[in-house]
């Protein structure tokens, strides 16, 4: 290796290409597109002659409340799902519990394969209607991608790295925290993003068991045959899902351990 190449390589190491610029390039388009779509919807709605029902349904504070409920539901779901699925995934990749993994993923599969609306209605029969029932349904519905990605993410870590870690005297906990989890972060976060988008979408059904959310707009729109209400609800839901997915992408880029690729 020539000394010139050496210094150049050293320079790249000392001043890595700015993380922020790459982040901006990758993640700037989505907010712009979302803003354009929201603006277009707003202009369309304000240009339309609204009747009483529509005007009442599209009041700003009503929209905000519905969106707030929706976000809360999605956020709570995410927190619970991450806690359950990442924790479960870690346990299910420990050598002593590994044999349980197929059973657990089968269970999570059932949760996801059951039609979401059926799941919610079934749960409300047993647990009554309300947001806690909706939450349980959403969690059951979105656990699978996170659980599966946690298991895959940890299992794809090179066994030799784990052996090397144990061989130099790291405890199993240290190997998990310093090697397995950091190297599994990109895969786990990909699962979390999928779960988030699913949760936001499925949360529109929460209104059917009286748990609020943007689904109420859609249902109202369908029942009363008011296109503006239906479209507004649908656009807001999609925008919310995409925003959260975008946020997940940014976070995942920030948390991605350096030295991978």
């Amino acid at each position: 290796m020539s000394s010139a190449a050496e210094t150049q390589a050293a320079a790249t190491v000392l001043t890595p290409p700015s993380r922020w610029r790459g982040l901006l390039r990758r993640h700037a388009p989505m907010p712009a597109i979302l803003a354009a779509v929201l603006l277009a919807t707003y202009l369309w709605v304000s240009a339309t002659d609204l009747d009483d029902i529509e005007r009442r349904a599209l009041e700003a504070d009503k929209l905000l409340r519905a969106a707030g409920e929706h976000v809360t539901l999605a956020a709570q779901t995410t927190v619970l799902v991450v806690a359950i699925a990442v924790g479960g995934g870690i346990l299910l990749t420990r050598p002593s519990l590994r044999w349980l993994a197929p059973f657990a993923t089968a269970l999570a599969n059932i949760g996801q394969a059951t039609p979401a609306i059926g799941l919610l209605v079934l749960l409300s029969i047993f647990l009554g209607i309300g947001s806690s029932t909706a939450l349980i349904g959403l969690v059951a519905y979105s656990v699978l991608p996170v659980l599966q990605n946690t298991i895959v993410g940890i299992n794809q870590v090179d066994r030799h790295l784990i052996e090397a870690g144990r061989g130099i005297g790291m405890s199993p906990i240290a190997v998990l925290l310093r090697i397995e989890l950091p190297l599994a972060v990109p895969v786990i976060l990909a699962g979390v993003r999928t779960a988030l988008v699913l949760a936001v979408g499925v949360a529109t059904l929460a209104t059917l068991i009286n748990a609020g959310g943007l689904g109420s707009l859609i249902v109202t729109g369908i029942k009363l045959q008011r296109e503006t209400i239906l479209v507004t609800g649908a656009v807001l839901t999609a925008a919310l899902a995409l925003t959260l997915d975008w946020l997940g992408g940014v976070i995942s880029d920030l948390l991605r351990p350096r030295g991978l690729d």
């Binding site: 050496e6 390589a9 050293a10 190491v13 000392l14 090179d158 030799h160 790295l161 052996e163 090397a164 870690g165 144990r166 061989g167 130099i168 005297g169 790291m170 405890s171 240290a174 310093r178 090697i179 950091p182 190297l183 351990p257 350096r258 030295g259 991978l260 690729d261």
Partner: protein, 399 residues
């Protein structure tokens, strides 16, 4: 005697549940301080299992393993492993940590302060030939394979462990890099005097690296445990001989140096002497050739009577140029020099290039056919000899 023993395996067994035959059966081995013990054998013979039981990455089923007199099973496994260097073929550098962080992992676990860890990492990088200023902040993927393994060795040395375990450490590198890493490591070992257990399936590597070599068969059964010289000269049985492969004699030449065999003297002719005098000198001596040397006694050319007759006037043009070797050269180098020379002799010169003697094919033959004595020069190996019965039938020509 016992204070020299660093690692003592006593009737160690390893069974796995559900397997009838043990992976390692009744393995006993005593390793002295400062030795490189190479465990060599076909894959699946249990050599890696044996090694991993020493730092308890694999727990022995029965038997005792003592390191420096302490039973390893009495220690906490993690504490034990922090005191034993560990190098694997796949290197196992953590890709998300810088070179310096990787090297400093064990000191950090031992609770050193940050400044000391940093200084130690730099010192070790320097030791393995990587300039700290350039490499300490690099990520593993920014290094070549050879550089990565150097960092792997540095990481294993971080807490200055007395014992190191190396599992085919150079197995994944290309032949040239491997050769260089081996040489560098041997040079390091001369300074460090670690006690090393080294696993490989490459017999040539075993010969090169080992103070003593244990050739293992099924279930880690020791077929022969001896110095490379003795192993090559007297393979205990046909399996060992087969494992050594072809060219055992040639391999022996790699192990011995020119200063370990007897040198012969040849007549010297000073260049400034008149040709007639030289001729007379050549006639008087029984050898057919003489060596011309310059005023400083540096050998120049081989000459014989015919050369002098053909070129009666110019002695400095007569004969054939000499091929020289230094006393530290291996006998293989000497053989090469002999083959290049018309007379089948290589001239030994001292570090200033002055004539010291000559070595001949006859001398080589004597060494090869002479059974090595106990205690090879320079190896410093104690008298612990082969674990196999000395009566094992010896057939030098196995093929």
């Amino acid at each position: 005697m016992s204070h020299d023993v660093m690692i003592d395996l006593q009737q160690v067994n390893k069974f796995y549940r559900g397997q009838k035959a043990p992976v390692v059966e009744n393995m006993s081995m005593t390793i002295q301080q400062g030795e490189i013990i190479v465990l060599v054998g076909p894959s699946g013979c249990g050599k890696t299992t044996t090694m991993k039981m020493i730092n308890r990455l694999i727990e022995p089923s029965s038997g005792r393993i003592l390191i420096d007199g302490t039973d390893v099973t009495a220690l906490d496994g993690n504490d034990l492993r922090r005191q034993i260097g560990y190098v694997i073929q796949q290197v196992g550098l953590f890709p998300h940590m810088s070179v310096a962080t990787n090297v400093g992992l064990v000191p950090k676990m031992l609770g050193w302060d940050a400044k000391r860890i940093e200084a130690r990492a730099d010192e070790l990088l320097h030791l393995v030939g990587l300039e700290p200023a350039i490499y300490r902040n690099r990520l593993p993927r920014q290094l070549s394979g050879g550089q990565q393994q150097r960092v792997g060795v540095a990481r294993a040395l971080a807490a200055d462990p007395p014992v190191m375990l190396m599992d085919e450490p150079f197995g994944a590198t290309d032949p040239m890099t491997r050769d260089r890493l081996q040489n560098e490591f041997l040079r390091l070992q001369e300074q460090l005097r670690k006690t090393i257990v080294f696993v490989t399936h490459d017999f040539d590597e075993a010969i090169k690296m080992g103070t003593r070599i244990a050739v293992l068969g099924e279930r880690s059964k020791i077929r022969q445990f001896d110095t490379p010289e003795n192993l090559l000269a007297q393979p205990a049985d046909s399996t060992v001989a087969q494992f050594i492969g072809r060219g055992a004699r040639l391999k022996q030449l790699d192990l011995r140096r020119v200063d370990a065999i007897t040198w012969q003297d040849v007549p010297l002719i000073q260049l400034d002497k008149p040709v007639n005098g030289a001729k007379r000198q050549l006639d008087q001596t029984e050898g057919s050739s003489a060596l011309t040397v310059d005023a400083d006694n540096r050998p120049l050319r081989w000459v014989n009577a015919d050369d002098l007759a053909a070129r009666p006037d110019a002695l400095d043009e007569a004969g054939q140029t000499v091929t020289t070797v230094e006393p530290q050269a291996t006998l293989r180098d000497a053989l090469d020099a002999m083959l290049a020379s018309r007379d089948g002799a290589a001239v030994v010169v001292d570090e200033h290039g002055r004539y010291a003697g000559t070595v001949t094919l006859d001398g080589l033959m004597q060494v090869i056919h002479h059974t090595p004595e106990r205690g090879e020069p320079g190896s410093g190996v104690p008298d612990q000899r082969s674990a196999v019965a000395p009566a094992a039938e010896l057939t030098p020509e196995q093929r």
